[in-house]
Symmetry: C2
Subunit: 300 residues, 2 copies
């Protein structure tokens, strides 16, 4: 399974970066191959200063070895070996009418002394962070997520949509990071679902990513915008930074376990502003966005 | 003691904001009075878009009531009453030749059921974060800190300088946030130091702040700078954000205990950049700064 899934994310990274480059029409992904001293490594691909994408990363990694102490505590296991791999992406478009998107699909294994798998699971999801809200885009993104989920289990979309709203929440601001999507974790073999079933589900979601995001980019990338709207985007990107550095378990885990810093922090936006006590005008599009983020919405 | 110290920080806030306004010559501090529902409140003063100060806050607060659950756990005490007050300031100058400065002086009391003080302490410090390193400025800042310390105890400066280097450290980047200064905490009554002695020491440091920082601002605020130097400042400000949101206990504590968010996050810089895998040119001033931040330096 680990080889099959790693092969899958390698191919998916190629598909996604190639499609995004063709949309951007100007910037190319810069590739960094890196090795983890304790075992494994990754292929980081970053795009910067494009026509469409101001900054973004589409990274894969596959790491293995002794499970770090901090993870032993976290997973409540002893001194075991592990393997983990995944694809993580974040795209920060230049035009404030185009939403930021984040996605991640990952697979984890732990082994006993004989090298037998003692536990394994999939996790991941994808979520959208608009600066200006187009209901049509939100509905398209969620509908694509739901279609992918429904092929596997009718309960997946409502459950994973709810978990996404709960996870990507800036508690200190009382607002969601964005308008959500899917979030799932610890997808393990059960009576009714084999690891093969989970693989089919997770790759179905991975395959749906470009379908979920690209039509939104195409619709919005050439819309005109003002300096005030660009400032609003940069202020909202500040909230993105706050979530990633204060609340996001993946980021904090990476920072505290000696991960590759530049691959982890590629998620941070290129230009960001913090303005003291900023409040959008009453009745403005900016205020409408905040109101929507304060209460998870049923898009379907 | 609590009334005396609160009076002191009120006066100090007035002195500092009035001096900074006169240096800026353009922007004025905007004052927000706020109340904490559970008891107490604060006086937040923020300056933005000045000639000299692009963004800064000089805030005081005095809060009291039942010690929040999370703080009971942190301090390993039961369900007690508390009082806490302090002055916190962060200044982000526009010109990259002028360093960012942070300072904080605070006092804490806890009470038994009869309202008697069961524990009390002072804490605080001040530290400098340059974007371009002028040894003269670093030496002046540290010398002012040392002079204030030496009037009270010859061990204070070396001890509190070391603790400052240790505390303001971006472990995930293997570099200091800045070039340090002083950091002290849990300054309690002992055989040789009364709370009155600590009050005299902490207020000596507070009184030294303008002397430590203002001459540096005066020397550097009108130096010319390029767009490339401004970009470097914004990239380094990203490291400031990383420290405050990932490592700073005060910020995280505030965010997780329902503090006044805008007063806490006034510390974040106005315009910030994150560039993937940025490295300054070999032998440049920018590289010299990073090298200095990688190993705490004896400035005196």
């Amino acid at each position: 399974m680990k080889d099959k899934f790693y092969q899958y994310i390698q191919n998916l990274q190629d598909q996604i970066t190639s499609k995004l480059e063709s949309i951007d029409g100007h910037a190319k992904f810069q590739e960094d191959l890196w090795k983890r001293p304790e075992g494994g490594g990754g292929r980081t691909r970053v795009i910067e200063n494009g026509n469409v994408f101001e900054k973004g990363g589409v990274n894969i990694s596959g790491v293995h070895g002794k499970l770090p102490k901090s993870m032993q505590t976290y997973f409540k296991v002893g001194d075991v070996d592990f393997f983990a791999c995944g694809l993580s992406l974040v795209l920060h478009p230049k035009n404030p009418m185009v939403p930021t998107v984040h996605a991640n699909w990952r697979y984890f294994e732990m082994y006993d002394d004989a090298g037998e798998i003692i536990d394994s699971w999939f996790g991941g999801g994808q979520d959208l962070t608009p600066y200006y809200l187009f209901d049509e885009d939100a509905i398209h993104f969620h509908q694509t997520c739901k279609t992918a989920c429904d092929k596997h289990d009718p309960e997946f979309y409502p459950n994973y949509k709810k978990r996404c709203d709960e996870y990507f929440y800036n508690a200190h601001r009382n607002e969601g990071r964005g308008i959500g999507g899917l979030f799932f974790d610890y997808c393990k073999a059960t009576q009714s679902k084999s690891m093969e079933n989970w693989y089919n589900f997770v790759t179905e979601v991975g395959d749906s990513f470009l379908e979920a995001y690209v039509p939104i980019v195409e619709r919005r990338k050439d819309l005109p915008y003002t300096t005030a709207q660009r400032n609003w985007q940069e202020i909202r990107r500040g909230r993105y930074v706050e979530f990633n550095l204060v609340h996001d378990k993946g980021t904090l885990f990476g920072l505290k376990t000696n991960g590759r810093i530049e691959s982890i922090l590629m998620s941070l936006p290129p230009h960001v502003q913090w303005v003291y006590d900023h409040h959008p005008e009453q009745g403005s599009d900016e205020e409408k966005l905040i109101q929507t983020l304060q209460e998870p919405k049923k898009w379907i």
